[in-house]
């Protein structure tokens, strides 16, 4: 198959027609470059949106309450809505199969003192499941457990930055600190990908907080992790149903948005999914447009160059060249140029994307990259197009009678 003489002819022909070779090569390289960059940037957009929701579990729901804005069942507007343990218990009992994790959250602002150092911190009093809902990472020790809740233990889990503030490089685990003058034992240190603010939080058992600070069964928020086996649509429906049920239990007008809301990650996921789908179609549209432009570019150059060489083909035929040898010469030439140029475009595009990295994050583009399958597919498409673009006019030129070809000028 490898015919050194034939390739020598091809190299000579390319070498003597550098401008033509460079033009067609440039067309291909540019098309692949654009295609790669385009795909990479869209991937970057997707990466950004995916990353933006990475802090909390992607199956989480967040129940929050404020004041009513509409009178309902004889109750005035402006009434403060207070969630209680019973609401959390109701959710667990009513929808056991739809819930993977659940936790209450109660906020306290406290002063924590260790030896001479002290500062104000936010405490989140929670259930043990909270660590999954917030994607808390345990660096040292452990998170709160059911035993802590049952016994209302005075234990806390502190954020990485809280430890840094109060203990510096020294050991914090097992030490006792004063939280508003009550002594708590540190049983764990955590970190969180959500950033510095998250790492200045402190977790304590919800039961401890309820008995020591107010002695009631109030909670501020409920966090739910829905069963990940639910489809997005069913998860959205579950969130809506839960919202209706809680409104009924709390005597809130069904349309009173400012009294209670459930932020459902399923809805956000659905939106991101729709956005991604839209982007995908845009990419298919623009990407195939780029490729078609590339194909037309090669075809034009090939048709022109073959027209230009009709006389040369006539001479070659008069000297004994068979039509097949002329077609093969042109096609191999086109194949060689498109392959090399396509590869260059691909390498250049991938290189540029790798240089961009995360420097465009403020434009919602994060770590743009392309899957090698897609760009190689695009390159192969262009190479095949180049093959056809060479083959069709070459076949026609090779069929011209040599006498006509010789007359051409």
């Amino acid at each position: 198959m490898f015919d050194l003489d034939a390739w020598r002819e091809i190299f000579q022909s390319i070498n003597k027609n550098k401008l033509r070779a460079m033009l067609s090569g440039f067309t291909v390289a540019f098309a692949i470059l654009l295609f790669t960059l385009l795909f990479g940037i869209v991937n970057g957009l997707q990466n950004f949106f995916t990353q933006a929701f990475v802090d909390d579990a992607d199956n989480s729901m967040f129940v929050r309450t404020w004041q009513t804005s509409k009178p309902y069942k004889g109750l005035q507007s402006g009434r403060r809505i207070q969630l209680k343990n019973e609401h959390l218990d109701y959710i667990v009992e009513a929808h056991p199969e739809k819930i993977q994790h659940i936790s209450a959250r109660k906020y306290l602002n406290v002063r924590i003192t260790y030896k001479t150092k002290q500062d104000n911190y936010n405490i989140r009093a929670v259930h043990p499941d909270h660590r999954y809902l917030e994607k808390t990472i345990i660096d040292e020790g452990r998170f709160l457990n059911q035993l802590d809740l049952n016994q209302k233990n005075k234990v806390i889990v502190i954020g990485r930055l809280v430890k840094k503030d109060l203990f510096g490089e020294r050991i914090a685990l097992g030490k006792y600190v004063n939280v508003n003058d009550i002594s708590y034992k540190i049983v764990g240190v955590f970190s969180d990908e959500g950033g510095d603010r998250e790492e200045r939080n402190v977790y304590m058992p919800i039961t401890t907080a309820q008995s020591l600070y107010g002695n009631n069964d109030y909670i501020d928020n409920i966090l739910i992790g829905y069963n990940p086996r639910l489809t997005i649509d069913r998860a959205v429906a579950f969130g809506n149903r839960l919202e209706r049920e809680l409104r009924q239990k709390l005597n809130i007008h069904p349309d009173d948005q400012s009294a209670l809301s459930i932020r459902n990650m399923a809805e956000a996921n659905k939106n991101v999914g729709q956005l991604t789908t839209a982007l995908f179609f845009i990419v298919i549209f623009v990407g195939s447009g780029t490729l078609i432009a590339g194909v037309i570019g090669i075809s034009n150059i090939m048709i022109f160059s073959i027209k230009e060489r009709t006389k040369e083909f006539g001479i070659r035929k008069a000297l004994g060249a068979k039509p097949a040898s002329i077609i093969s010469m042109v096609v191999k030439e086109s194949l060689l140029i498109t392959s090399i140029a396509g590869y260059l475009g691909l390498v250049l595009g991938t290189f540029i994307l790798s240089q961009i990295g995360d420097s465009l994050e403020k434009y919602f583009i994060y770590n743009p990259s392309v899957s090698s399958g897609i760009v190689i597919g695009a390159t192969v498409t262009l190479i095949i197009a180049g093959l056809l673009a060479g083959y069709l006019p070459a076949k026609k030129a090779a069929q011209i009678k040599p006498i006509v070809a010789l007359r051409a000028d």
Partner: protein, 235 residues
């Protein structure tokens, strides 16, 4: 070597057709040096194209080397051209991006001769036309006479049976014309059949036999002085 019987050829021009060759009969034996004379439009180039398998005839028989030429496809024609025929054109038709040596070697490439071997043969033929020192020059670095000598070397390289020359001196001045004709004469003396098309009386005079064409028919076919003396020598 070349035998033509009742040859007709027409070209379509729009809806009409132009009847160019109107029943030619011609027999050229091996080793002859023949010229076809005629003004432009007489059909002489058409005849050469048919003889050279560059074009096909409509009616009649054409035997090349005793082989009836019919139903030729491009591939078969290419093989026959490569094997039996060497072309010399008025406009030289050298490939501009190939050196003189590579141009001469090109028909050998299509014959399937290895690179080393064909460059060696090509150089021999270039030396034969006294262009050895110009082997590495490109066509545009050569004079018209030199280009035509390269073309002749190229035509000879595959050792064909017949050299077909279409107005070989048409683009040359009188001095170079003589040198090219001398070269063709020398080739003929070595036994090769040479078939020249020309409209120049002086050129035709240097061949052995002149066939005159007018409006697609042969009006005369006679030996020149040199042809007569050659014929006498044989007798």
């Amino acid at each position: 070597m070349i035998r033509i019987e009742g040859l007709h050829k027409s070209y379509p021009i729009g809806k009409d057709s132009l009847h160019v060759l109107k029943g030619l009969d011609l027999h050229i034996k091996e080793g002859e040096f023949v010229s076809i004379m005629g003004s432009s439009g007489s059909g002489k180039s058409t005849l050469l194209n048919i003889v050279g398998l560059l074009d096909v005839h409509d009616v009649g028989n054409y035997y090349l080397n005793n082989q009836l030429i019919e139903k030729l496809n491009e591939k078969k024609a290419a093989v026959l051209r490569n094997k039996f025929l060497g072309f010399v054109f008025q406009s030289f038709n050298l490939i501009s991006y190939k050196t003189a040596l590579e141009n001469v070697a090109l028909p050998l490439y299509y014959k399937g001769v290895g690179r080393k071997e064909r460059l060696k043969i090509a150089l021999e033929y270039l030396e034969k036309v006294e262009l050895g020192p110009w082997a590495e020059h490109l066509p545009n670095e050569l004079s018209g006479g030199q280009k035509q000598r390269v073309a002749i070397a190229r035509a000879l390289a595959t050792k064909p049976k017949v050299i077909l020359a279409d107005e070989p001196t048409g683009a040359l001045d009188s001095t170079t014309t003589d040198s090219v004709m001398d070269l063709l004469k020398g080739i003929n003396d070595e036994g090769m059949t040479v078939f020249v098309i020309t409209h120049e009386e002086e050129v035709a005079e240097q061949t052995d036999r002149i066939v005159r064409l007018k409006d697609g028919v042969i009006i005369s076919d006679e030996l020149t002085e040199s042809g007569k003396s050659k014929a006498k020598n044989y007798v």
